[in-house]
Symmetry: C2
Subunit: 420 residues, 2 copies
């Protein structure tokens, strides 16, 4: 590694070691609960988790309900699905029931949450936010701020406490991600939440790259509002509904801009004026995409059964093994590890910088190793629920072969795809 | 009929007549393209269209793509699905390609459209809107107006031209539904659009209860912006994604509040500042719910093949037959027809007022006749694509039996369900 500090590796990172670790891995049986395609090393679960084996049947059942029960299915099952799925996600992020609602896209949830968070501090005009947050978070924060006449102060996470302090009496909202979408670096949710609260601000978190990868404790940490995506570590499927968390103490004065009729206190009264439902039900918006929502519900089951702590522990071991393999196999090939080596500061994916990241990833994909690219970073997700140590060894070995032979310089890996 | 004016019925509304009409119905074969449950009369397609026979396979294929192709499916199929499905919906509403985008819920589309419409007239402060529009339209208009500092003037459709005239130089947006969600009354899209334009305002339409039921010509009518729902007359499935239409002439200065990363000019550059994509692509928001979106896509095919004009013509005949049956069978039983008898003023559903509408509908459902209730109105959808004349006769006969025998007064039909 040219720039990373070499970390003492307690095991010899080899194929034999990978096989040995897989043999003793108590979570190994969970791999069979995902329909992984043959010949593929699935290290892109930070972008789209693989298909849980229970999902095809659950989706077929949802389609059957539609066909056979028609509108009657709303009363029999569907109407309560957003709250039911929300509560199940809530358990994974440390939220007691009645505070998490599933629905809509992460972008929509972000807009709703930023406006509502700012309205909890109507006398304050500043949002302090992570400058490294995922772009859609930044775009929607800017849009919400423009509508409300707020100033957005974007700073790197390291400078955030100072920035909050500088704007101490003006900060309405502090908005950060639980993990950096580029490097996988884990941020300190309780510490930053305390910083926000000490300044009298509301703490809003985007849990997209944290939930399902690491245990979160939004209730214990005093988080005010949170949003998150479900198609990464929750394997809910492409574009599966996002979720919003609203701490119970804020619910009854939560003033959301997306006042859809499903969030009305009595939606079927068809009243002319919006009256928010009690509790987190007001965070419902329009009719949820039921097929995608019920796919997500079925997807949660393996993670719930394995337990987030066990998955996290294995993810840490997989990350250590990845770094060990990288140190041994990638030395001198132009890669730089940008994810913290301290596992306490690492989420579910690791990132390597390479000047030709896109071409390297295209060559990797050609060999069946799936990761993704953000700028000059190659990202590899080591989700302990279904990734094996063998996968990690195969991926780093492929990386070595692609880079050492200049395979990635082939013109066929130069084509730009829409989604990278 | 106690209050409606009796209309001359050119046919004797009987079971025999229904069978004869079904025998000569050229659209009758399309009924087989929907998986209708046995023993059910499906007159609630204005709430949730039935399951098209092609959908289970299409959804299974989308799940297969997820499982086998993982993120690669984004480039192979999914990324372009919102525009592709949008264009197909566009053809059904008279929009040339490149102006319609599928995604998100109708509520979210409404918010986005109201804000963007108002921003097209930044020097004006009034929104004139139909006071009888669907509640979520009214709630989100109020929310958008609050954020932008606009005044909302809600009036019945009949008073709308006068209201626009009264606020002539201040009206930014005129927002109306293509059809009244309660009575099914069809509004005059070109005439109201002209009224808006003559006052210098932007015309925004909610096509939810019109698209798929009646031919619409948004391009020819000069509509500026439109939104719509796809799970009613487009049979896209529970909570299938909605759509937004933006006339080409407005696209490049359309300033949407929901600036999700999928609407960015170069989403995978991960830039820090939102730069809207050219054309209607800026109306994308977050990651769309792919399973629900691809179900919708498959659902459109039978309607496209039958042709909206043919479906409309049969829907008119079904409506005439419904009214003929109602006049003959429901006289003196406390029902009032509130849908216009003139088929040119009627959309895809008919509404009967009854003081015990909820109980009557519960008793009807118990007999397998599915309609729905809004307040004291019973709604029955006569979608020509899959409803038969026999269905209509069965439904009105059941209505007669339920009302004439006081069956609906049974305590078991008093239970309030969440979704009515």
């Amino acid at each position: 590694m040219p720039k990373g500090t070499l970390r003492e590796v307690k095991m010899e990172p080899s194929r034999e070691m990978a096989d040995r670790l897989d043999t003793v891995d108590e979570l190994a049986p969970f791999r069979k609960e995902f329909n992984l395609p043959a010949g593929v090393v699935p290290l892109n679960g930070n972008s789209l988790g693989p298909l849980p084996a229970a999902v095809p049947g659950a989706v077929a059942e949802a389609v059957r309900q539609w066909g056979e029960r028609l509108t009657r299915a709303w009363n029999e099952d569907w109407w309560h699905a957003p709250a039911r799925v929300g509560d199940r996600i809530g358990r994974l992020i440390g939220a007691a029931p009645g505070q998490t609602m599933a629905g809509d896209s992460t972008s929509v949830q972000i807009f709703n949450a930023v406006v509502a968070a700012a309205r909890l501090r109507p006398d304050r005009r500043v949002v302090v936010a992570d400058a490294g947050n995922f772009p859609t978070d930044r775009y929607l924060t800017a849009s919400a701020a423009r509508l409300l006449g707020l100033e957005v102060v974007e700073v790197p996470m390291g400078d955030l406490p100072d920035a909050v302090d500088r704007h101490r009496d003006e900060v309405a909202v502090v908005f950060c991600p639980a993990a950096d979408y580029r490097t996988g670096e884990l941020w300190d949710v309780p510490a930053v939440t305390r910083v926000a609260h000490e300044a009298g601000a509301v703490a809003l978190w985007d849990l997209s790259h944290g939930a399902g990868a690491v245990p979160l404790w939004v209730d214990d940490d005093g988080v005010d509002l949170a949003v998150g995506c479900t198609y990464k570590y929750l394997s809910g499927g492409p574009g599966s509904p996002a979720y919003g968390y609203v701490a119970a103490r804020h619910q009854d004065r939560l003033d959301l801009p997306l006042t859809g009729w499903h969030g009305h206190a009595r939606p079927f009264d068809m009243a002319g004026v919006f009256e928010p439902a009690p509790g987190v039900a007001r965070a419902r918006i329009g009719t949820p995409p039921v097929l995608s929502l019920l796919a997500l519900e079925a997807a949660l089951e393996p993670l719930e059964r394995a337990g987030i702590e066990a998955v996290r522990a294995k993810t840490v071991r997989l990350g250590d093994f990845f770094l060990g393999c990288a140190d041994r196999l990638l030395d001198g090939l132009g890669f730089e590890v940008v994810t913290p080596r301290d596992p306490r500061r690492r989420g579910g994916h690791l990132a390597l910088r390479h000047p030709e990241a896109a071409a390297v990833m295209a060559a990797l994909k050609d060999r069946g190793v799936l990761g993704d690219v953000r700028g000059d970073l190659l990202r590899f997700c080591v989700n302990g629920l279904y990734v094996s140590f063998g996968d990690v060894h195969d991926a780093v070995t492929a990386l070595r072969e692609v880079a050492a032979t200049d395979e990635y310089r082939s013109p066929r890996f130069r084509r730009r795809e829409v989604v990278t």
